[in-house]
Each structure stands twice: as structure tokens, then as C-alpha cells.
């Protein structure tokens, strides 16, 4: 008792911690609980994980005061080149000067470090790291979580930000629609001979897309990109079993020499691809954010951005309600969050899904259709603008925190 806060955020990863900071910016207090040891997550060796931060997400980081700390570590994406297995036909998504960049690439560790540093100094955020939740209660007057050491944390609203396997979502019985792609994403950092000129490449093979996302040069001046390579689950074991040298050679082959000679940067990792979507992202005194609400295929780099849109929307809704004296767990606010997010989350997830299927069908004819499709998109300005706006996260009705101030 005594320290009842507005929010009890379960999961202090990128999305959970962004929520705590965005809420704090508006005077909203929180408990944040995470199992992980922050020291381990921010260790200096690069783990190969990176995220594309859309313009809308960047606006949110700017609005919560993180942009200055992050700016020097981000690699702007000036254009996106999309090709079909390096055959003729290519779409270039290149925004006009006044439209700004298509996003920025960050190592996840850099983002985590900036978020953790900001959270540590914030008195509105009570951060409980290396803590396991053993019991969750959602009652008529508030919510609580009991930690393994017996500590009881109280708040008005519980937010599940634990990612795809969210135990809070499962306990609340919120049903999840789940599509398994039977594909696996191989994630790695690569060092390459030629500069990337801030171009992100999406090369579509019939097995799945091979994406290269530009990163800032290493400290010793080597050119760097993040690789997200989607392969058929049946072939994944083989790729993962390859020696570093053989894997390197495969990667270089798939790149058709666009960046010259290639070296690996840090360890390889992989995860199965699936698309998941919950019909409901709220229950009594509970809201889901990020992958706990919707896990999507990383093909268009929208996973984290979707989570940040959840954050922006939830905070806007909470602020609007709290300015009227309503409590954060108020059923009418949660209803508004649910309705605002429903369409957006599903449309991004569905668009990404369709893209994967389109490029996942092998054969000559589908390839020809894909190339023609790309040529049409290339020439049709409104379509191109639509795709660019989706990539930037600027479509739809944006909450205040996601807009440029």
C-alpha cells in the first residue's frame, strides 16, 4: 500500500519502457516490472538485433525528450529499393526533400540504453528489474501484481507489454488468432565493403524476403547493415547449422554483389515467423500493447513501430480521460483505446501479411506478376505514396504524441 500508481506495466522492454516514459512525460505514474537484468541487455557487444524507427515513432521519441540522445546513433533510411530476386524491375521508394526520411535504423541495444537511462532518473517511474510476477489481480478498485520476493505493486490500470508470449494476456483469456508462416527469420549484422548510401534493400526470393537495413558505420569506419533473411522453416535448420564461413558465403551470394565483399558482424539469431492478432486488446482494467497485442512479420520492419503507435494512442486516451478526472482503469477510456487501435493494427498486419504471401509463391509466372506489380506501383504515384506513408507510420488518425510538434 501507499505507492498506488496509475499504471502497472508488466514487461519493461522497448515498448513497455517507451510507454512508461511517454506516460511520465504527461505526469502519469507507473510501476514497470521486468524479469531481465538491464546490465546484461545493454552489454557492449552487438547482438545483431536492429529496428527501423518510422517517422511517427521518431516523433514520439522527440516528444518525450529522447531524440537528442538517440540522434547520433541512428542511420537515416534515404530510400528503399525493392527488387524481385535481383531480376529486372525495381521500386525505389524515395521521398521528396520536404517529406523527410523513411525512418532510422537503430541497434536495439542503443534504444534500450537510451530508454533505461531516461527511466532510471525519472521519479514517476518505479522500475522493478530482475523481478518475477507470481500473481496478478484485477479488482473493482484497481490492479496489483505480487513479485517473487513478496512485494505487492498496486495501480489503477494493468498494461501487458511482455511480448508475444504475454502471460498476462493468456491469464485474461484474450483469444489470439495465429497464423504460422512455416518460415523463420535469420537475423545478423553484416559488414560490407561498399557504403550502403542509406539505402534499405528488400530482395524478394521465392523462399521469402532478404532485407538489408542500413546501419551507421562501426567506430573503426566499417560499413554496416542489419540483415533480416526469411527462409522456409524446412530449410532453416540447414542455414543455422552452416559454419560462419559458409553462412557468410551464402549471404554474399544472395546479395549479388550490391555491397561488395561481406563479413559477419556479431552472432546470428533466428526466430519463427507468425502473424498474431487479438480481436480484443483490452479487458477489465487491462490493456495490451506491442507484440502482446499483435505480433507481425518483420518484413516491413513495422513490429516495433506498431507497438509505439499503441503507446502513443494509449497515452493520448489516458491523458484525455485524466484531464477530466477519470481514473486510468476507467472502462470508457479502454473502450476508446480499443476502437482507435483496432483498425490500424489490423490493416498494417494484414498489408504485411499480403505482401509476404505475394512474394512467397515460387515459380516463373508469380515472379512475372510480381515484377509487373512493382512496375505498376513504381509508376502510380498515389500507391507509392501510400506505401511510403505506411512505412513511415504516417497514415491514419495519429495521436498527438506521434505527430510533429
Amino acid at each position: 500500500m501507499g505507492d498506488k500508481r496509475d499504471l502497472l506495466i508488466l514487461g519493461g522492454g522497448l515498448v513497455g519502457m517507451t510507454l512508461a516514459l511517454a506516460a511520465a512525460k504527461k505526469g502519469i505514474t507507473s510501476h514497470v516490472v521486468d524479469r531481465a537484468d538491464p546490465a546484461a541487455l545493454t552489454a557492449d557487444n552487438f547482438d545483431g538485433r536492429a529496428s527501423a524507427i518510422s517517422t511517427a515513432s521518431w516523433n514520439l521519441f522527440t516528444n518525450i525528450g529522447l531524440a537528442d540522445a538517440l540522434e547520433p546513433h541512428g542511420c537515416p533510411i534515404a530510400s528503399i529499393a525493392v527488387t524481385d530476386a535481383m531480376r529486372p524491375g525495381r521500386i525505389d521508394f524515395q521521398p521528396e526533400e520536404h517529406e523527410g526520411s523513411l525512418g532510422r535504423m537503430f541497434a536495439n541495444q542503443t534504444l534500450r540504453l537510451a530508454l533505461f537511462e531516461a527511466a532510471r532518473d525519472n521519479t514517476l517511474i518505479n522500475w522493478h528489474a530482475k523481478a518475477d510476477v507470481v500473481e496478478r489481480v484485477r479488482g473493482p478498485h484497481g490492479v496489483s501484481a505480487t513479485l517473487a520476493d513478496g512485494t505487492v505493486l498496486e495501480a489503477s490500470l494493468m498494461v501487458a507489454a511482455e511480448g508475444r508470449q504475454s502471460p498476462t494476456r493468456k491469464e485474461a483469456g484474450l483469444q489470439l488468432a495465429h497464423w504460422d508462416y512455416k518460415h523463420r527469420a535469420l537475423i545478423a549484422g553484416i559488414i560490407h565493403e561498399k557504403p550502403h548510401d542509406n539505402v534499405a534493400w528488400e530482395i524478394f526470393y521465392s523462399d521469402g524476403p532478404f532485407a538489408l537495413l542500413p546501419m551507421l558505420d562501426t567506430k573503426d569506419g566499417k560499413h554496416r547493415s542489419a540483415l533480416v533473411w526469411t527462409v522456409n522453416e524446412a530449410h532453416a535448420k540447414g542455414y543455422l547449422a552452416l559454419s560462419d564461413a559458409a553462412f557468410r558465403a551464402e549471404v554474399e551470394k544472395k546479395m549479388h554483389g550490391v555491397f561488395g565483399h561481406v563479413e559477419m558482424n556479431g552472432p546470428r539469431s533466428s526466430y519463427p515467423l507468425s502473424f498474431q492478432h487479438t480481436a480484443r486488446i483490452t479487458a477489465d482494467r487491462l490493456a495490451l500493447v506491442g507484440d502482446a497485442a499483435h505480433g507481425i512479420h518483420p518484413i516491413a520492419g513495422q513490429g516495433l513501430n506498431l507497438g509505439i503507435r499503441d503507446v502513443g494512442t494509449l497515452v493520448s486516451v489516458l491523458v484525455d480521460g485524466m484531464k477530466l478526472g477519470l481514473e486510468p482503469g476507467d472502462a470508457q477510456m479502454l473502450k476508446r483505446y480499443e476502437e482507435w487501435r483496432a483498425l490500424d493494427g489490423f490493416s498494417v498486419a494484414a498489408a504485411t501479411d499480403a505482401l509476404t504471401w505475394l512474394f512467397g509463391i515460387p515459380g516463373k509466372l508469380p515472379s512475372a506478376i510480381r515484377r509487373m506489380g512493382m512496375a505498376v506501383v513504381q509508376r502510380t504515384s498515389p500507391l507509392k505514396t501510400f506505401f511510403m506513408n505506411e512505412a513511415r507510420g504516417m497514415s491514419g488518425d495519429l495521436p498527438e504524441l506521434l505527430r510533429e510538434q
Binding site: K26, G27, I28, H141, L324, G325, L326, E327
Partner: protein
């Protein structure tokens, strides 16, 4: 739990009993007070705008009433008192029905909000003056409206703000708020007696007699698309502010 111990000038015993019976269900957003839960954000947004305007506060603050006192007259189970307390005010809630006060106190305790709840006649409770005086959807249930308005005015601090809302007495309100609303079960039967409704002109006159100035009323209207919302249409329900002339 009877009203016999309270010397009543403005409370009708049968009205107090009617709401007392509903008290337990007050806080259920899907219960018999569902209409009030939907109305709450609408009237709270009017109150919020009015307090920012009256005291020149920061519209972005989530504690605009910090350091201010407030009384809600006819508070029911505290649907308005609790938001006012969260906005920072020291809140007193007054209601004619003891059951309402019991339900309100229990809920405030659960919400960990230090609200003072008093059961009885406003004029006989020996309360002082308050920065904010609210009375929402109450005067239509009151027997002696002139005496009631006088009591409200007496509770208002010199620089204070009063916010009032009530159904209008128009053909539209007779059909929609009384007949239709009860017929479809939107409000419990016996909630409203149309003949007791008061028009904005009559209400403003009573307030002027009590030495108060008033703002132009806003309507609370309903449309299928927007639900309940603030509007220029005063025919169903209206809300406005009042303050001391001097």
C-alpha cells in the same frame, strides 16, 4: 435508514428512497445508471473547460483543482465526486439518501480517495463555503427550487464557480427523457417527472434572485453517431455555470 430524523425542506422522501434502492448498482457502467456513466465524460469536459476559464489554469494539467474545495450536491454514489477529487480538489458530497452515501463512502474507500460524504439537507449540515459547487441532474427532483438555489448560493465562496445541469421542460424532453427513455429502459421508471423540470430562463431567474450571474447554457444532446455530446441544442438537457455578481 429513514429520512425521519432529518428535518426536510427540499427533499422529497419518496425520491430519496427511489435512488437509495439503486445505490448498489450505481457504479456498474452497464447497470441501471449506464446513462449517467455515459453522461459523465460529457459533463466533466464542460466542468473542465469552465474551471480552466474561471481560474485561468493550465488546460494540460491533470490536477487543475489542487488546493481548491468542492461540494457536489445530490452526489448519488459519487460518480462526480471521485473525478473532482482526482483533479485535486478536497471534496464533500451531499445526498438526501443515506443508501447513496453508504455506497459512495464504500466506493471512495476502495478508490483510496479522501472524500467527505454527508447525508441530509444541504442547509442543515453546517457546511462552510466552497470554491466549486456542483449540482447535476438534481434540481428537477427538488420540491422547493427557490430555497434549494438559495442554499447552493450560500455555499459558494466569493471567487467560486458553480456548475449546474438539468433536463429542460420542452415537448422533446417529455417524449425522449421521460416516456421513451423509460420505455426502452435507458433510465429506471420513476426517475423523472416532467412537470418538475425547469427551463433555462426559470433557472437563471432563480439564480439572479440569489445574487448570481450565469453563463450562456450549453445543450447536452444525443445523436446516434456522436452519442451524448455538448451542443447548442438546449431542448433536452442543459449545463451552465454561475458565479457571484459582486
Amino acid at each position: 435508514m429513514s429520512n425521519a430524523t432529518v428535518q426536510s425542506e427540499t427533499i422529497r422522501p419518496e425520491e430519496a428512497q427511489h435512488f437509495g434502492a439503486l445505490a448498489a448498482d450505481w457504479w456498474n457502467p452497464q447497470g441501471s445508471s449506464a446513462m449517467l456513466h455515459k453522461l459523465n465524460p460529457v459533463r466533466l469536459s464542460f466542468i473542465r473547460e469552465s474551471i480552466d476559464l474561471h481560474w485561468g489554469g493550465d488546460p494540460e494539467s491533470i490536477r487543475p483543482l489542487l488546493g481548491k474545495s468542492a461540494v457536489d450536491v445530490g452526489c448519488g454514489a459519487g460518480l462526480l465526486c471521485e473525478p473532482l477529487a482526482r483533479l485535486g480538489a478536497t471534496v464533500t458530497g451531499v445526498d438526501a439518501a443515506a443508501e447513496n452515501i453508504a455506497a459512495a463512502s464504500a466506493h471512495a474507500q476502495g478508490s483510496q480517495l479522501p472524500i467527505i460524504y454527508r447525508h441530509g439537507e444541504l442547509g442543515q449540515l453546517g457546511l462552510g463555503q466552497f470554491d466549486l459547487v456542483t449540482s447535476m441532474e438534481v434540481i428537477e427532483h427538488v420540491a422547493d427550487k427557490r430555497a434549494f438555489v438559495g442554499e447552493l448560493a450560500a455555499r459558494l465562496a466569493p471567487d467560486g464557480l458553480m456548475v449546474l445541469s438539468t433536463p429542460n421542460r420542452t415537448p422533446a424532453s417529455r417524449w425522449l427523457l421521460v416516456k421513451a427513455a423509460e420505455a426502452i429502459g435507458a433510465v429506471p421508471r420513476g426517475t423523472h417527472h416532467w412537470e418538475d423540470f425547469i427551463t433555462p430562463e426559470e433557472f437563471v431567474d432563480l439564480l439572479a434572485e440569489a445574487g448570481l450571474e450565469t453563463s450562456a447554457p450549453k445543450g447536452i444532446a444525443f445523436s446516434p453517431m456522436k452519442g451524448l455530446h455538448l451542443s447548442d441544442d438546449l431542448s433536452l438537457n442543459y449545463i451552465f455555470t454561475a458565479w457571484r455578481k459582486d
